[in-house]
Subunit: 69 residues, 6 copies
């Protein structure tokens, strides 16, 4: 099983909040992980980041896909 | 500084691959973290997941935003 | 009318599930269609796919836009 | 293998266009398929769509994930 | 022509940067506009925002669709 | 504070609609703004747009992030 996405972590579900149409699933990530972000070169230049810098990684929950293997 | 997104991690940049218009930034996440996924109730029922289950968390790198605070 | 998106299909609505803020619309696609996915070169190499291969195409419903022409 | 996403089709790869950081994969969908869109109730009311209506389905290729099972 | 999306602005193109696979289009928005954001109730509570507050609105360019009517 | 995203506007909140899991925040954008869209070169060629053209800019509210600085 291979996914065409750079961010693939494993998590344990700690909570499920059910609504009428949508729901929200909360997970714990225990182990160290590698993540990736793709942006425009212009955004990279504005950020002025380089190897070794610490940054905040933000992702909306609607763009996170869960897969049960 | 508060973000209207459920997924907020901190990472250290380990690599930057530059292209003509787009670039890809790779990061290491060291500490344990909490993540969230929002999906339809139908998807939740199909997944048949519950608290305690381990699942794969997949997110495309284009939907990951970096912020330099 | 031209859209700056690679995936443009036509579907017939078969169901609408209404919630408080969000709703879900289900559609049938009858005819053959062409779809496209954009990913990083790294993801392509990991997938190790080539012309002729069959793959699963996954898209979250929140990222699907309906237009009434 | 279960995915927390409403849109799951199967396609055959017909072309791969490689760039420096990103690439584009083109696929053929042969069989009839079911798709879903999630939107706000306000958008639904503006669209004024109902069961049986034909609509255009638009999705950007960056939000389409390929999985090789 | 009606779109199932809450954010619909009109802009004039001021620049196009072409790459091998992807490109970036820059636009000017002149007139006042209304925008919308959908998030989880948890994010709303964390943000602690209310009517009248000024906030930053951030959207990645990959999730912005251009339509030529 | 720097964001790795091309679209950064400032808005004043005019309404909040709360649901069970999700909510919708409406904002007014007063000042002129610059926006950006990233798409495939194929989409650009299909659109056949050039500098000076007026186009519609469409973005789903789920992909709009609010930040309270």
């Amino acid at each position: 099983m291979k996914y065409g996405a750079r961010n693939q972590l494993t998590g344990k579900i700690t909570g499920i909040k059910k609504g009428d149409v949508m729901c929200q699933v909360t997970l714990n990530i225990d182990a160290p992980a590698i993540m990736n972000s793709v942006m425009t070169m212009e955004s990279l230049n504005d950020l002025a980041i380089k190897e070794g810098d610490s940054v905040k990684i933000v992702a909306k929950a609607v763009n996170v896909l869960l897969v049960k293997e």
